[in-house]
Amino acid sequence: MVNVKINNIPVSVEEGSTILEAAKKVGVEIPTLCYHEDQSVKANCRICLVEVKGAKGLVTACSTKVTEGMEIYTNTKKARDARKTVLELILASHPMDCLKCIRNQKCELQKYAAEFFIEELPFEITYQMIEKDESSPAIVKDLSKCIKCGRCVEVCQSIQTVGAIAYSHRSDEYRIATLFELPLYETVCVHCGQCSLACPVGAIYEKSEIEKVWRALGDPEMHVIVQTAPAVRVSIGEEFGLEPGSIVTGKMVTALKMLGFDKVFDTDFTADLTIIEEGNEFLQRLEKGGPFPMFTSCSPGWINFVERFYPEFIHNLSTCKSPQQMFGALAKTYYAEKIGIPKEKIFVVSIMPCTAKKYEAAREEMKSSGVRDVDVVLTTRELARMIRESGIDLKKLPESEYDLPFGITSGAGVIFGASGGVMEAAIRTVYEIVTKKELQKLDFKDVRGLEGIKEATVNINGLSIKVAVVNSLGKARELLEKIKKGEADYHFVEVMCCPGGCIGGGGQPIGTVNRVRQERIEAIYEVDRNMPIRQSHKNPVIWTLYEEFLGEPLSEKSHNLLHIGTVH
């Protein structure tokens, strides 16, 4: 431990702590912009200036490690003036159109502007209006608002290893650019949206499709149904001031009904269906001898990553569509027939923790019934905005149940929302199908959690199945390279594009950091624990669906509606 004094208050902190961390311990929040708790120290915004006794000039609290006996002053006139000047310099080159900014009231820069109360800027206003890049169906890049903190670049380059964006030019022209300034859609961007979570301001954000949904809801001709992804129920509460990890499933269903959706369904149902289809596909591959490893295919950012960087592994991907797309395909066929409404009159909305889902839903091949499987994908953040716009306070709502038939789900379906969940759900089912024996213990804790690469071996009928679970594309790249070099031989690998899985997705509430991800993971498993059914193959509605419509797993109908590409 190191003993220091912050504004004359003694505090003992761990060795290697920064001034920023030490100050936090005594209740002093030093302003930061380029700092991000899950990223490396950049120290380029310079807003965290403090005074240290004996030091030459001011020091940046984010990058300066404490030393024994250090005397730190965060609140001298000199330090306060310096921080204010830095803020004023940033504001002078920032369009101050907060009222029409998507990050209004959720902006780190705006927060400091309010705290410092800068009535008048002493500087020339120098910001440049740059045309927004709206080429991507998922993400909008508005460089006019960029404060050049570099947080998006780090997540794109270091955590996701995609590298769609990088620093370019210098001085006034310094900017976060794509290769040759191409529109984002034409780059290697996988549309994961992690950059939008990292951005402290409104420079990168989800492309909002709320208006399309309002229009459909207002159209009496349309039967508007909505599906909610597993991860949204444990995150959307944060948008309404609840603690991270609050479970608000029932309240969210009520809110959706109040917004005017005709039916509120659960993507967990098609997650269960995915387990049946993908589980059988895996068993088929075991019989046929490959190709291995089989990769999960529910994460669209991951699919994009394979297509762009590792096309040689495309045939290793499960042919299953994602639960979102399976839902859409069934909604416009099975469900349409069942309720007697033509598919053209059914409008399918998804609530997803994900921006890449917008890209996925817009893909040409996602039109199994002839029309788009899913009409509009809204992120968690967009749904929260719709709820707020309607004057609904989610916290205060009573709870409601999902509608039938796609409202009966299992705990296996809900854990799709966290890294390791798909694998665990698959094991819970495949084991019992193959061995015809009941699993004694349903929890497979080895594959859970935020760790990037998790491995396990599952013994099924004397056969050792080697599995791996990966979250974040950087870790996926690491694993793919190992496989390419012949250093790893898995049978089945679950990959989720975003750190922590979908609970950490790019469409989740602003403030999604690993600390918060951990809380949501715990909540997801709590939901699972409390479910009456915890295995996909024990969901009775799944078998009704096969009986009434699909026939059997991997049937021709299944292939046409629920799978993509060649069947192996």
Partner: protein, 433 residues
């Protein structure tokens, strides 16, 4: 007393720069031959005794730097010569690169021998294509003759040097940006720690020194550190290459012993100002350096004496400015330079330079107010105290020093008066422009 010396510039122009034979005739490579018979720490001891300090501008004691590098327990270690010489008004490294590249190569090879370094780079600025050609040729010749490359002088020790070049960014003269650029990345400074000495080129320990610093080493090794130190002052050993430019009769590069005063340099060596002109101020160390008035010319060129006055010598550029110049017009030039050269990474430098340029332009076009004068000070101060690297920290040095010594001229400009009659305050026909 002799005003100029030829310690490191001895035989400039007298030999073919890339001829090893001719270099040997003037005593070349004797230091290397001597160094390989010495223990590395003995060589370092001589450098410490010489009181040699980094000639690139930071003036870090070279002996201590080498000693630290020697004790870093990580291999391989790399050696980089900073020949990015981008500071406006600085052109002394070019003399060594163009006329005595083998002296530089010898100095680097001695460093490599001490650190067991397999590889070195000479990072020559993009604007010096001719120097790159000469140095590359000298490297080849030295390799041919066994003074560089594999198995140097039969010792079994191998050291290769490669010439690198950037695209001309000023910030690449900053050591960590130089290393970034050497790795093929955009030249932007790195966060420190880790320091370059521990984690530099490709993450390995790296010794970075200026051209002139390396060029001092052969003399020190050959003649002894004390002899070299004897040329200078008590605190600053040896000689310094200075670049005298501006409104002075004899412009050029001079090698002077530490202890020479600025007045001696400008009037005795430089021949004074052109007839009829009066000295207004002198800028020390290039565009990033302070501007000082005539009354301070008796200060000695000595790291310590300058430091006491809050000044630095920088790379050794000395720009003489006479009374026909307007300080605001002069500042515009400096501000435009830094506005162009800021790498953009940190707020104070990126935004500060932009604001400074807008402010200086207000003084030129006659729209400046007293508030603007205060704002220049405010911006300059935040840049000095809060910028990420040396570029941003020093970009407003000229502004702050000129306000300190010539504030009345700023005030005159607020009242639309330019005593040099250069600023036209938005089209006044009396203006020269």
């Amino acid at each position: 007393m002799q005003k100029t010396l030829n310690i490191i510039t001895e035989n400039v122009g007298q030999i073919r720069p890339d001829s090893v034979d001719e270099y040997i005739k003037i005593g070349g490579f004797e230091a290397l031959k001597k160094a390989i018979t010495m223990h590395p720490l003995e060589v370092i001891e001589e450098i410490k005794k010489s009181k040699l300090q980094g000639r690139g501008g930071a003036a870090y004691p070279t002996g201590i730097k080498w000693e630290q590098a020697y004790y870093v327990d990580k291999n391989p270690k790399y050696i980089i010569c900073n020949a990015d010489e981008g500071e406006p008004g600085t052109f002394k490294d070019k003399v060594i690169l163009d006329y005595l590249p083998l002296r530089l190569i010898e100095g680097m090879t001695i460093a490599a021998y001490i650190l067991k370094s397999p590889k070195g780079f000479i990072y020559i600025r993009g604007e010096y294509p001719e120097s790159q050609r000469i140095v590359s040729s000298a490297i080849k010749e030295a390799e041919k003759m066994g003074y560089l490359g594999d198995d140097i002088l039969g010792t079994g020790f191998s050291f290769h040097i490669e010439v690198l070049s950037g695209a001309g960014a000023y910030v690449c003269g900053e050591n960590s940006a130089l290393v970034e650029s050497s790795e093929g990345k955009s030249g932007r400074p790195r966060i420190k720690p880790p320091f370059i000495k521990n984690s530099g080129y490709l993450g390995m320990p790296t010794l970075v020194n200026n051209v002139e610093t390396f060029a001092c080493v052969p003399y020190i090794v050959k003649e002894g550190g004390e002899k070299f130190a004897g040329y200078g002052t008590e605190f600053s050993g040896g000689t310094k290459l200075v670049c005298l430019s501006g409104n002075v009769k004899n412009r050029g590069v001079y090698e002077v012993p530490f202890g020479t005063t600025l007045r001696e340099l400008i009037y005795d060596i430089g021949g004074g100002l052109p007839e009829g002109r009066k000295l207004k101020f002198v800028q020390l160390g290039g565009s990033s350096g302070p501007c000082i008035p005539e009354s301070m010319l008796d200060i000695k060129i000595c790291y310590k004496d300058l430091k006491v006055k809050g000044l630095t010598l920088g790379s050794g550029a000395i720009l003489v400015v006479d009374d026909s110049n307007c300080i605001i017009d002069f500042l515009k030039c400096i501000t435009e330079f830094f506005y162009h050269e800021s790498c953009g990474k940190c707020t104070p430098c990126r935004e500060g330079n932009k604001q400074l340029l807008a402010l200086v332009n207000k003084f030129i076009n006659g729209s400046a107010t007293y508030n603007d004068l205060e704002t220049i000070k405010k911006v300059g101060q935040i840049m000095k105290e809060a910028a990420f690297c040396g570029l941003g920290e020093t970009a407003a040095t000229a502004h702050l020093s000129l306000i300190k010594y010539f504030e009345e001229e700023f005030v005159e400009h607020i009242n639309k008066k330019c005593r040099a009659n250069i600023c036209n305050f938005g089209g006044d026909k009396d203006g020269k422009r």
